[in-house]
Symmetry: C2
């Protein structure tokens, strides 16, 4: 079946989903969770085929680990669906409302988008997460996963679709697209009018290609060249801990710090401490000459280093003469994802927060907190780095649009 035909079926399913009350959606989510756990052995078996193919193709251990499913992981994936069932339904929420001077009652109400397209990397849990989040928000999902997870995804979607039917909802609310060719990505990007929004997740080149070529509205996600700026008024102990946590708590996520900026006034006091901590943690520092002066382990940084999202045990570092210079540096090299300041100065924190243009600005906290789960959203479909519609972690409300409902008793425009 072509992507267009699948999208047309999704549109039909979306009409039903939009009118499905919360209780029925939650029942379906719980049924999906139960079915996944019950059929866990089938899922593991399908996943084993993907892992074998991945090993044969020479995928890295890190990628194989992200691809791998275990009974414990399947249980965790099912638990996430059950949590979604407990979240409030975004559909029907009244965002704004008033009675107009002529007596018209104006209500802006959340409604589902309709059909959501997802393009994502080789983590099978995303298949279930995305299907669940879309269902809860009343949207049909077109899922284009990685070919490396083709067997796992096919099995997962088979189970989810059966659970939807058991719950009396249309199976076409969740559909997997062909991952054996890039053609399905191209077709999805051109399905304007059938697909309401496209969310690409994954590497920078995929996201750039989708943004460039898609006529379907896109929500850009992911690339994070995040900075931690240690201010002249920083508590240096907090600063070491925040920098280290921001860089090393997990190396390969978009909210991981990739660059350290240190105010010149505290460089001599701070750099030896943080460099020692990095050395102990096995992090390579790519530093400007002022940074390199403090340790022979520092690799000289090029201009490219400051623009790089390493996603590895590397960090760039520079000394800046002022907070304003830190802001300028971030404006030049940052990707508007997450930027942090460490300072005890209220004035400095206010200046940084106001001047830095990013999805999230942290004051005395790790960059790693930019996350739907950490923000308390209960579910997350990605982190938007664009300014339109959604910015930062996207939860259920971000998967909705709105509709104005205007109720009167015969009002005419004069």
């Amino acid at each position: 079946m072509s992507v267009r035909e699948q999208a047309e079926q999704a549109r039909v399913a979306a009409v039903t989903l939009a009118a499905t009350p919360r209780a029925e959606k939650d029942r379906a989510l719980l049924g999906m969770a139960d079915a996944l756990v019950a059929r866990s052995p089938e899922v593991i078996e399908a996943n084993a085929a993907d892992l074998a193919a991945g090993r044969a193709a020479g995928l890295s251990d890190a990628i194989l680990d992200r691809l791998a499913l275990t009974p414990a992981r399947v249980t965790a994936i099912a638990a996430a669906l059950r949590e979604m069932a407990g979240l409030p339904d975004p559909v029907g929420e009244v965002v704004r409302g008033s009675t107009l001077p002529n007596g018209l009652e104006l209500r802006q109400v959340r409604v589902p988008f309709g059909v959501v397209g997802m393009i994502y990397e080789g983590r099978p849990n995303v298949t279930v997460d995305a299907a669940g989040i879309c269902l809860k928000s009343g949207n049909a999902a077109l899922l284009r996963g990685s070919s490396s997870a083709a067997n796992s995804n096919a099995k997962l979607v088979e189970i989810l679709r059966e659970a939807l039917e058991v719950a009396g909802l249309p199976a076409d609310a969740v559909q997997l697209l062909d991952s054996s060719t890039r053609d399905s990505v191209k077709e999805l990007m051109r399905a304007r009018g059938l697909v309401d929004v496209l969310i690409p997740r994954g590497g920078a080149s995929l996201i750039r290609a989708v943004v460039e070529e898609s006529t379907v509205p896109v929500i850009e996600t992911g690339v994070g060249n995040c900075h931690v700026y240690v201010d002249a008024a920083a508590d240096l102990e907090k600063a070491v801990a925040i920098v280290l946590n921001s860089k090393t708590q997990r190396l390969s996520t978009c909210n991981t710090a990739e660059s350290l900026l240190v105010h010149a006034d505290v460089a001599d006091a701070f750099l030896p401490r943080v460099l020692a901590a990095f050395a102990e943690a096995g992090v390579t520092v790519h530093g400007s000459p002022e940074v390199a002066a403090h340790s022979a382990d520092v690799v000289p940084a090029t201009d490219d280093d400051f623009a790089t999202e390493y996603l590895s045990a590397d960090i760039s570092a520079a000394v800046v003469p002022s907070l304003a210079a830190a802001v300028d540096h971030i404006r030049r090299y940052g990707t508007q994802h997450t930027e942090a300041i460490v300072t005890e100065s209220l004035a400095a924190s206010r200046e940084f927060v106001a001047a830095v243009d990013a999805a999230a600005v942290m004051v005395n906290a790790s960059t790693r907190f930019t996350d739907g789960g950490e923000f308390g959203f209960g579910a997350e479909i990605g982190i938007s780095t664009q300014k339109l519609h959604a910015r930062g972690p996207m939860g259920l409300p971000e998967l909705t649009s709105t509709k104005y409902v205007v109720t009167g008793d015969g009002q005419l425009r004069g």
Copy 2:
């Protein structure tokens, strides 16, 4: 200067604007209003040149009327700027906030987009409106008006820029792009990274071209094939008035009704009345056979008629066997702008509101109410017919993005 260079200057201006407090922006708006009134003769003179060129080029009276400026119209344009000064500043509004379990304070705060691009038709008032709305919301504006208004726009922007400088704000916050060639539109559409959002206003073909070709995120506006559905439980007197007002209160706007659907149960009672009213108002009805049976004046409707946004004294009309059939018809032919039901039945109104997918759904009210002014927004930059970011009339909040500000005292992710 190239559009890219203008956009780069706009970005610099946007940094200043984002940090400009409300009082300064309002002072600039009032200064712009004063300057427009004071220099009204210059504006009228520039406009006279556009009108002469338009007449020579054979523009229609309707288009010349929209292009024309009079002292009264300049005063009205200035008054709109003064009204904007009185509106609350959307920047800084806290949209969402909570304290997380670990003590982090989370705030989602409205921030300007940065640089907004506008492409629009030959109405010089849009130049001033757009500049004012962008300034109030802290955005720099790149304005690409119609070549038919080139002289008027150049004079207006000259006055606005001088007023900005007098108010101590960067003149480059408002820039006019070359309207003598389509190249400026193309450059604007490819200025991703410099321009944050593009709002095309005007004909369907322009909007389609921008949506297809732009890599800058677009907010689609404008096309409205709006329906009024007269339900079996309608008050027929209200229905005649609402249908007539929806069609004839202004013929050429996107919220004008273009199609009438009548439930079969009331067709015999309603159609003679509404057809007589249309005949009196000079509206040509393009009807299905069931409609045509009631009057020799009805022109037989083709399938194309039901898909047409006439923007003229024409309306298509059909009889439907049920509310569900009306919804199906709207789903097939509508453009998701504004759809209205006339009914005294609560159940019917709820069913219609839930099932119809549109920016605005009217119950017993004219379609003409879908308008930022009528909704009480105080200012409007267009009516979005897309689902991403903004849907329906767009006021000041719709010209903003948000930023998460997270404040802690050393929190780390565990």
